[in-house]
Subunit: 705 residues, 2 copies
């Protein structure tokens, strides 16, 4: 049976379809088998219904869930069209994994008997096995868009739950579990080594995967990022139970000053005094709860804590030593790994650390697996980092599992790195990225670092402000309703009037998220985009500086898509140096915005606080002969523009007075009107099936010389 | 000089262009001249600046206004492109005619000197005269759309102000006016005759003009209406000063019970004790203020009062006699005229009454001009009616004077009929229709009638509710943005699925203002349109019953157009008998709406309080094999539909769940889905330059047999 341990994740680029098909089949069955092997640790079927953790489902759910997941993803991926058991495939669909620590789940579930769930698991196993035989496969192997991806996703999903279920079993009463020989603990327990900080050279780390990567990855692993990491010091060992015990003995759990606000709130609510798996027995001795056993606390094993406890320890250590001690960032962890390990799970001959079920079924001493001067660069227990998980530039959501990553991009889920003794499959890879709420327990501990470098938080969150989304979409989204993007329509209409020659400057008023500003910069040496709404300017500036933006797109009802748009995909990357964005009130423009050859006012009249003053003064900002282009819907809002500041759309001297007449009256002294006004349609997505359509009038005005 | 009195309005169908040109020139100059003759009644130029009526401009305004009006209308009509004096043409553009009696105009105007205004008048006179020489004219004469219409409109406008300025002069202090021989009063003053009620036979009256009418008319005179008038009794004479004096002596001005609420409020505010032009002198004798003289009150002249006083008199008379005494309706006035007069001003040899300046420059005795048994059917003073002015079916706004009539269609402007001694031009015609606020003074009095017939108010006002206008426009408006009307798009998509054969019944849910209901009725023997919004049903029902609806269309800013849509213009008049409209909640349909061959649900799912229940039950309303068509944007609103009643657009079992999936799950038991869903675009006008565009999904379902 031991051959089900130490299995490696699939190399999906395998070009022999027959071979790859059999590799998938083997990986699938081994995964299924070891998953079931895990549940053998439960004393009886009744234990499946116990809620090991009040915040999560009982284990019966996970028994069904890992099977149901295959079917649900195969259906969403349109590989299967028929359900096996609609009731199970609904009941076992959604976990309760991401709740707050004080938000108890009170829902009542009517879980079915275990034999029924097992029968269902067998059905799924047979169905997937049949698919593995039937699905076409060619020499390109298995890629992200292939129907096979759903099967591999199911396998890797099951491997994640292998680990998380092992944590849940670890939380069941000892009387309801049994220690199997298969899940045998490490027997090496003893004195802890003295920890010390060792220097780590700075350098560049490259994170992310591209589509050609031959290994399965979750969507958050794709895209690419490159960071310069300053030199720092890192502890030689993971923090051992002994080292952490000093913190406890020093009253660490009682002193609020070491804790973050979130940490102290959690500690108080939980009345935590010790790490979760430590037990103080009747005689006062400390013991450790392992998955299915309790043993005297091994001082030289790594401590297992959540992020909040790890941070409190670092703060205590920093206070005691007067040094900038903290947890490593994601980049620092990678730097450390890249300097000390150059292989990865599919290609190593034997795991270099306590990982992938290749050595023990528990932690082991923190001085057992050396990587140069350091220990446990990977394996043993996961290592908490300071970095909340975030998407890399180039991130795309996988369509058949669109809520795997995105709900965790909230700044409240910190990355854990390096894997534990039971991390297998994708979990054991360099590029894997898992993140949990900071109060969560896994088989996780930490290494501390010393660094004065400021931590960079790489959050470019998805813009979700309903007031901004229509402009993100209108500027950068796919063409709505088969219409061309408005910025392109506008630029095409402006084309005949754009000046040529070197050194030309343009001003774009009402720039929103900047699309027309960038487009104008194809024709000018400098374009300034101005908007009254700073939140829009922030998005335009992100596009200039980072080269990408992210926002939500409303689909149907509450359903939303996560969109990332990259400047380079519009062929605009070379314009980024020529544009600048500023918050400004067009009714009250500061002096420095002057001397332009061309001014485009896009929805800027209707958006102005005082359009009259704006238009009366705008000629002062153009060079003689300069062009003013106004594209506007004259859709004045009471909350923005007082009636007396509007340019038209009312009766004057008893007669209807249009905004075009108003523009002519206001601009006539300084400009001549070029050409006939044109009408352009601008589309703003307000929902998946609802748009606002604005008919903008485009007028072109030449400043008199 | 006397040849400028008694001039007749133009017969515009004159087919000799040379002749017509000279007739226009003659009419124009005579009008200009008599207008100036009127102002000679002012003692000096300073009198032009006195505010005769606190609610209206001083006479200097009207001196300028009647000239400015020609230029402004010629410019709007694009006959002229150059202004003569932009400042005058703004300052003299808008009168202050329609204010409430307690809303004093406090604006400060910087009126120019009278000689300047007179010079401007001369300039205009010369310019218009030149135009009369220059403008092309052919044998079709002058029609509504001709550039000449602006000139004739200017002349008729000046003739209206001839009368209204004569009323303002009548309100100036006696010391500031002079009695000219030209404006000589009637000298016949004496005993008043005893009034009595005489029977008037009922019959049909036909009101309105069509485009072929050879006389100038204001826009409110066009269209056509036909009414059956029941027999009634009418007073032989207009109410004389003596007859009204009985009311006063009986304490009429002190007894609230005779007054309408509006009347009593006016009386109280004005502290009115006598008709406006009556004066009680130091000796207690009653005197009458005429235009430029004061004379002992002639008891046999008609009393001049506003509507509110006339109504109080009628109520007093009714109370005293126990009879249903009231003012006549517009139709009753026409009935009386048609029975007693068959000529009209352009064709009579001598005015049959004291009208058109053909007899006196004041009122005359109420028994001077007989029309059969009655007197003063036309002329002497205007006669107040019970009827608020309203547009006839077929009414169109004249584009160069779009606010002549529409602001008076508010139910607060009552028609006056018959003309006064100074009513000339269009004012003296059978078809002319003038209306004033009920507290206003003109040279107006009244005749009373006795009738138990209920008064019909012919108000089909312009729908102005912003929540309803988009649906009026979407159903009946011109094709937006070059797209076909949505009802036509929808019906075309439904065409292959409409059952054929006799006796078929359809149900239209979410019928709004009914367009698709009527369109469906081309294919069915009966179509019921249901909507939750009763105000929409009211509009649909008006279209069925009256054959037309009216609504405002938002143009730019505050500018709106007045739209009338007629069923016959859509070729739908023959369907009117086959449609019915009811208010109903689709989530809770009453039993009687059953047994249909076809059900169209148009925006009905998204608009339902409980779409789930609606869809679960809808199969019970169809015959076996019947078709259900759903065109919907699934755009559920929180204020209407609770989340738990929605059909999709959320995550279910962790996966995105679209509304189409929801429909399939809900309807699947009873229906089979026909064909692929189609996407149709529905456009809702929200403003002149702003639309809401909805992408509706059309699905077709056949009820299982």
């Amino acid at each position: 049976m031991d051959d089900i341990k130490g299995i490696r994740t699939l190399v999906l680029s395998e070009s022999d379809p027959m071979r790859l098909r059999e590799q998938v089949r083997h990986y699938f069955h081994q995964t299924y088998t070891i998953d079931e092997k895990l549940y053998e640790s439960l004393a009886d079927d009744a234990a499946f219904y116990l809620r090991a953790d009040p915040l999560r489902h009982p284990l019966v759910f996970y028994l069904g869930h890992t099977a149901v997941f295959y079917i649900n993803k195969l259906i969403i991926g349109r590989v299967l069209s028929q359900r096996l058991n609609p009731s199970f495939e609904s009941m076992f669909a959604v976990g309760v994994d991401e709740m707050s620590w004080d938000d108890l789940n009170e829902a009542n579930y009517n879980w079915p008997p275990i034999p029924e769930v097992r029968r269902y698991r067998d059905l799924v196993r047979a169905r997937v096995d049949a698919l593995i035989s039937e699905l076409p496969l060619d020499e390109t192997g298995i890629t992200w868009a292939s129907p096979w991806w759903a099967i591999v996703m199911g396998i890797e999903h099951q491997r994640i739950h292998l680990e998380t279920s092992s944590v849940l079993i670890r939380q069941l009463p000892l009387s309801r579990v049994r220690q199997l020989e298969f899940w045998k603990l490490c027997e090496d327990r003893g004195e802890a080594p003295q920890n010390e900080l060792l220097p780590v050279k700075g350098g560049t780390v490259r994170l992310g995967r591209d589509d050609s990567d031959p290994l399965y990855g979750w969507d958050n692993e794709y895209g690419s990022a490159s960071y310069e990491v300053e030199g720092f010091k890192a502890s030689r060992h993971l923090v051992s139970n002994l080292e952490f015990h000093e913190f406890i003995q020093d009253g660490g759990y009682q002193k609020q000053e070491y804790w973050t606000q979130e940490g102290w709130a959690w500690k108080t609510f939980q009345q935590a005094e010790l790490p979760r798996f430590w037990i103080r027995d009747a005689e006062g001795s400390l013991r450790l709860r392992c998955m299915a056993s309790e043993i005297p606390l091994p001082w030289n094993w790594p401590v297992e804590v959540n992020y909040l406890e790890a941070m409190a320890f670092c703060n205590w250590k920093a206070a005691r030593t007067g040094r900038p001690i903290r947890l490593p960032s994601e980049e620092e962890w990678y730097r450390l790994r890249d300097l000390h390990l150059d292989s990865d799970q599919p290609w190593w001959t034997k795991a270099p650390g306590n990982i992938n079920l290749e050595h023990f079924c528990s932690s082991c001493p923190v001085d057992r697996f050396a990587f140069g001067e350091f220990y446990d660069i990977i394996g043993n227990v996961w290592q908490w980092t300071e970095t909340p998980i975030h998407p890399f530039p180039g991130f795309k959501i996988h369509p058949i599992y669109d809520d795997f990553s995105v709900p965790t991009f909230d700044g409240r889920h910190n990355l854990i790195k390096g894997g534990s003794w039971i991390s297998t499959g994708n979990e054991a890879l360099r590029n894997s990225r898992y993140a949990f709420r900071r109060h969560f327990y896994q088989h996780a501990g930490f290494r501390y670092v010393e660094s004065a470098a400021e931590l960079t938080i790489h959050d470019e969150p998805y813009e979700s402000d309903p007031a901004l989304l229509p402009w993100c979409d209108a500027n950068w989204g796919e063409s709505p309703l088969g219409r061309p993007n408005f910025a392109l329509t506008l630029l095409e209409a402006l084309q005949p009037w754009l000046p040529s020659g070197k050194g030309r400057k343009a001003l774009h008023l009402g720039c929103k998220t900047g699309r027309s500003t960038f487009e104008l910069a194809r024709h000018f040496d400098q374009v300034i985009g101005l908007d009254f709404t700073a939140r829009l300017i922030r998005i335009a500036t992100a596009m200039k500086e980072k080269g990408f933006i992210r926002y939500l797109r409303n689909d149907e009802g509450e359903l939303q898509s996560h969109i990332e748009q990259r400047l380079q995909d519009f062929g605009l990357q070379e314009t980024a140096d020529r544009v600048e964005f500023w918050q400004a009130d067009v009714s009250n423009l500061v002096e420095k915005f002057s001397g332009y050859d061309f001014i485009l006012a896009e929805n800027a009249v209707e958006g102005a606080i005082n359009p009259l003053r704006f238009l009366e003064q705008i000629h002062t900002r153009l060079v003689p002969g300069g062009i003013l282009a106004i594209a506007d819907g004259y859709d004045f809002k009471d909350e923005t523009t007082l009636p007396e500041h509007r340019v038209g759309g009312f009766r004057k001297d008893g007669e209807p007075y249009t905004c075009l007449e108003g523009l002519q009256d206001i601009l006539g002294n300084h400009f001549e009107l070029l050409a006939e006004p044109q009408e352009l349609l601008q589309t703003l997505r307000q929902g998946g099936r609802r748009y606002e359509l604005k008919k903008l009038q485009l007028t072109l005005w030449k400043k008199k010389t």
